[in-house]
Amino acid sequence: MMLRASTASQLQHPDPDSTSDDVVGRRSPNLEDFVGAVVGTDAAAAEAARADLVDQFGTEWLVDASAVIANFEMMTRLADATGACLRPEQLVASASMRDELGLDAFPSART
C-alpha cells in the first residue's frame, strides 16, 4: 500500500491479511503500539517502545519499522498537500470500512 495506490492490486486478493509461508506462525511485535509511541509526545514512552522492539526482535526491526514510518510521514503529506482523492470505485469499495473506522470524519476526507 502506497496509501491507496496499491488498492487495486490488493482488491484482487480475497485475503489481504494473509501472510507468506515464511512468516506464518512466527512471533510478531505489536507494531501499532510501537508506532503510536514513537510518533507521540511522550519521550519516555517512545524510548521504551524502541528498547522493547530492539530487545525482543533486534535492531534491524527498529530500522525497518522506522523506515516504513518515514515513508508514510512522506506519503500522507503528499496526499493531503496535493489534494489526492479516491476514484469513484474506490469510494464505493471502501464505504463500509470508512464507516466502521470513522474515516469520513477526518478533516482530510475528500469524498
Binding site: M74, T82, L103, S108
Partner: protein, 232 residues
C-alpha cells in the same frame, strides 16, 4: 551518514544512500526554486516538525512571532513560509480552498508542487531519525544556481487539486500528485523504495526485507496514517 546507537544500530546502506541523495536534492536548484530557496523551505519544515508547541493551523507562522528558523523565513515570501509550516505540521487540515488561496497569494501552481516535494522529503528523513531515536543529520549547504525552468506539459486533474503531467488521472492520485515536478517524484520514489517497497514490487503482497512482512508493513502504514488523520 551512518548513525549508530549505543546498541550498535546500523542503518541499511540503501537507506543511507537514499536519504543522502534526498538531502542533497532538497538543497539543490529545482525547476522553480533556487537551491537557497529550497534549503530555506527545508529548514522551515524541520523547524515546524521540531516545534514542541506548534502554531495552530489557522494561525500564520510568519505573524505568530514564533518562527524558529528566522533566517530561512527571511529568504522566502511570507505565503511560502506559512504554507511550508502548514504542510509540514498540519497537512490533514488542508483543503482545496486553502490551496486556491495559496495561488491567489502568488504561489505558482507548479512551484507549489515543487515546494510540496521538498517538504515531504524532509518529513520522510526527519521521520526516520525521529522514530528510530537517532540524531538527524544536518542539511548540506545549498547548491548555488538558478532554477532550470523546465516543466512537463500539465493539465487539470480530477483526482488532485494540483495540476499534473498530461495525461491526467491515468495513475493513482498519490502517484500523479508530484508529476508536475518530476524530479521531486523521482526522489520520493527513491526514498520509498528504500523505506518501504520498490515501486515495481508494489503488487507483490509477500514482498519483504526479511524483517517486517508485507502485512506488518501495512499495519505500520495504517497506524501512522491514523496518527496523521490522513483519509487517503
Amino acid at each position: 551518514m551512518i548513525a549508530r546507537m549505543p546498541t550498535d544500530l546500523t542503518i541499511r546502506p540503501d537507506l543511507v544512500a537514499a536519504q543522502a541523495e534526498a538531502w542533497r536534492h532538497v538543497t539543490s536548484p529545482g525547476g522553480s526554486w533556487t537551491g537557497f530557496e529550497r534549503a530555506a523551505m527545508a529548514e522551515l519544515a524541520l523547524a515546524a516538525l521540531d516545534d514542541a508547541d506548534p502554531i495552530a493551523p489557522w494561525e500564520s507562522a510568519t505573524t505568530s512571532g514564533r518562527t524558529t528558523a528566522a533566517a530561512a523565513a527571511a529568504a522566502l515570501p511570507p505565503a511560502v513560509v506559512d504554507a511550508v509550516y502548514r504542510i509540514a505540521r498540519h497537512a490533514a487540515t488542508l483543503s482545496e480552498g486553502w490551496y486556491q488561496k495559496q495561488l491567489e497569494l502568488g504561489i505558482d501552481a507548479i512551484a507549489y508542487v515543487e515546494m510540496v516535494g521538498v517538504v515531504v522529503v524532509i518529513a520522510a528523513v526527519d521521520g526516520f531519525f525521529r522514530a528510530a531515536g537517532l540524531d538527524r543529520p544536518p542539511l548540506p549547504a545549498p547548491t548555488p544556481g538558478e532554477p532550470h525552468g523546465r516543466h512537463p506539459q500539465v493539465e487539470s486533474a480530477t483526482l488532485n487539486w494540483v495540476p499534473v503531467a498530461a495525461p491526467a488521472d491515468q495513475k493513482a492520485a498519490v502517484v500523479q500528485g508530484l508529476s508536475a515536478a518530476p524530479a521531486e517524484w523521482a526522489t520520493v520514489a527513491l526514498l520509498s523504495g528504500a523505506q518501504y517497497i520498490p515501486v515495481d514490487e508494489m503488487g507483490e503482497l509477500a514482498w519483504n526485507r526479511g524483517t517486517l512482512s508485507r502485512p506488518e508493513m501495512e499495519r505500520v502504514a495504517a497506524r501512522l496514517s491514523l496518527a496523521r488523520e490522513c483519509f487517503y
